[in-house]
Amino acid sequence: MERILEGPATFYIFGLLISETVINTWIVMALLIGFALIARRRLEMYPGKFQNFVELIIESITNLVTSTMGEERKGFAPYMGTLFLFLAVANMSGIIGLRPPTADINLTAALALLTFSAIHYYGLKKKGFGHIKGLAEPLFLFLPLNIIGELAKPVSLSMRLFGNIFGGAVIMAMIAGAVGIFVPVLPSLYFDLFAGVLQSFIFVMLTMVFITLALE
């Protein structure tokens, strides 16, 4: 069984490898887009139960973004909300029997690269060359240390998410292989549900904090 650290390979389209990770990502996308399309139907002024639930999600994410990044940065809420919902559903997809797409270093590295690009794009846009000069603060000797620190941010973000979810998937596979019935429920509650939501929350919080620091 090759490619166990990444998603196992399935088939090729136009010469590109479609791994199991890509297929599971499509399934997560279908779930999220389906949920969004259903939520858009018949929006009313006095919300019923389902609309209330959706508004609760939107409100809590917006509150999280404004309390962490400040009121004027409310425009970041759609991206952070998407990131959080996608990561939460992707991490929890172990319950429906999928191999979680975030248990692939390629996906977590891609998301961490998005964060890295956002940090430096907004830093350069706000402060111009001062953003690069900020790497030489407080002393010029600190330049290599600060560069390594900046590189460590996406590495640690991607490794943390990958390690937690992949480690959880390995342990769940071992437990399910040893005792197939009833016993996997409790560890699955922890590894799939709790750790999944917590890790997606951590990823989004750290992204917000890094971008806020770059914008200051």
């Binding site: 650290l5 943390r160 990958f162």
Partner: protein, 84 residues
């Protein structure tokens, strides 16, 4: 002594086990953070919600170095898998 793929696999398996000694660090660090969290709740029981959230946030960040060691162990086990 002739070194084969089996030697590499043996040392990789050994390395994977030694790498997980790094599980000591996050254990101590996260436990210390949990202790401080419990202390804070004891001092102000009505702030239990935000304190718990902040504690979990800090613990998950402190876990990162342990996860680095885990990924190294996975890579080494993958080598053993490929040889055997």
């Amino acid at each position: 002594m002739e070194h084969t793929a089996m030697t590499v696999a043996a040392f990789a398996a050994l390395g994977a086990g030694i790498a997980m000694i790094a599980g000591l660090g996050p254990g101590i660090g996260q436990g210390y953070a949990a202790g401080k969290g419990v202390e804070a709740v004891g001092r102000q029981p009505e702030a239990r919600g935000p304190i718990t959230l902040t504690m979990l946030l800090g613990q998950a960040v402190a876990e990162t170095t342990g996860i680095y060691a885990l990924v190294i162990a996975f890579i080494l086990i993958g080598i053993v898998y490929r040889v055997l």
